[in-house]
Amino acid sequence: MKLSDLTSQAGEWLRGSGPMSEVVISSRIRLARNISGFPFLARCSKHQRQSLEKKISETILEARLSPKTLYVDLDAAPEVDRQLLVERHLISKPHKDAQGARGVAVGENETLSIMVNEEDHLRIQVLRSGLQLEEAWEQINAVDDRLESTLDFAFHPRFGYLTACPTNVGTGIRVSVMLHLPALKLTGEIEKVFRAAKDLRLAVRGLYGEGTEATGDFYQISNQTTLGRGEDEIISDFKHQVIPKIIEYEHNARKMLTAERALALDDKVHRALGTLRSARLMSSEETLTLLSHVRLGVNLKRVEDIDINKVNELFLLTQQAHLQKILGKKLEGDARRAARADFIRQRLSA
């Protein structure tokens, strides 16, 4: 498998096929692991960093975690490829911008990615569409078991899995659910979500995780506690308490919009669609905002002639690296905005 094979369509997580996908975009679980006997990355010499990358990438490829596993050497990869991986949520922004020996392994329809030499030696991630936390846990747990049979993970009976940052120590788990909450945003009730999350000691972030804005009404909710609570407990809280509550808030807001503010809602949705179908210059931010309104309209059946998958795909394919890969050229400024507008018009008219 080559990196360019990824560009033409969305990954499994954006197919919009999973349970509760009208609100839940994706479920993600990641595990932080380090190899015993090597310092954490901040204290690694150049040589140690290189041997870690070699050892881990070889282990991953030999473990045959999926029928086709792609390993990308990020130190050698061009900027646009690294950006593409960020847009597909396969690597983090810091991993894209870092220096030195590092990489990522991608497998199983992009549901699995393993970052090598990020903040920890390994960051294993499973990303699935809709609310599929238990399935994601099952998958990542099996991958972790496989790797553990060859790699000696740093573990302490009291502290659990040892991580570079003490905020991840213990299970090393981060469970995140990406939610699309346009109605709560429109009704101005999004604060409810922040409050509910805060009460349960959860973090709310934007589309690309730590330090990113909540563009396109996408919100990522994730756990912060990793020590003293088991994986099952954390996942079960998400599945049974946190997420159903937020989904209910969003559903209520959607119901209220259709019942009491239908005209304003239709105006918003069709105005967005009109702009997307006729604009000649489009920034990525405006695209996300407008697509968010169209997605809401399609989910509420206020728009009949557009398939939800097409909208979901546009969220990804209109981002800068994807656009440049699809069109096969480097684009900047107005040329990029014009190409984006053209691409959207084409897709929405077909």
Binding site: S36, P39, E119, S149, G160, V169, T171, L227
Partner: protein
């Protein structure tokens, strides 16, 4: 006021007392730096000042491990507090005392791992599971004794004996 040596604005005003005689000097930054009379060289950059201020007021400077260094990776407690990342796996045990309150704050009071345990540790093949179970049993035993639940304590003690016997 003008600088004594050139015509620029004087920004450094020094009062020196030599043998009971008071002398005043008014210089611009450049002349002051050239004549090396100025305290400019000792100026502390604002970020360093702030760091020191924060360190003093957070009580960090007083923490026991502030000057000790992990023998494995060479990181000091202060260094860790500045960038938030530890240097190696041994730091957890080494800085245990200072780290524990931090962990409690970050993890809703959690200080002990609960959850997945590696079935074995790759190359070393140490059966980790048993070790962790023993730790947990001993802790439970302590708790039962503290709660004066001797019936439960006896049961746990038997479990520990059994586990030890099978090793």
């Amino acid at each position: 006021m003008k600088c004594e040596k050139c015509n620029r604005q004087a920004t450094i005003h020094l009062t020196e007392i030599h043998a009971g005689k008071k002398m005043e000097k008014h210089l611009c930054e450049q002349c002051a730096a050239e004549s090396q009379v100025s305290p400019i060289k000792q100026h502390t950059p604002i970020n360093e000042l702030l760091t020191n201020f924060v360190l003093q007021h957070s009580g960090m400077a007083k923490e026991a491990g502030a000057t000790t260094v992990c023998p494995e990776c060479g990181i000091s407690w202060t260094e860790f507090r500045q960038n938030g990342l530890l240097g190696c796996e041994h730091d957890y045990a080494f800085f245990d005392k200072d780290l524990t309150p931090l962990l409690q704050r970050a993890h809703e009071g959690g200080t002990h791992h609960l959850g997945k345990v590696p079935a074995r540790r790759g190359a070393s093949s140490v059966p980790m599971k048993r070790q962790v179970d023993m730790n947990r049993l001993r802790k439970e035993l302590n708790r039962a004794v503290e709660a004066e639940d001797y019936e439960r304590a006896a049961k746990i003690r038997d479990q520990i004996r059994e586990a030890e016997g099978s090793e």
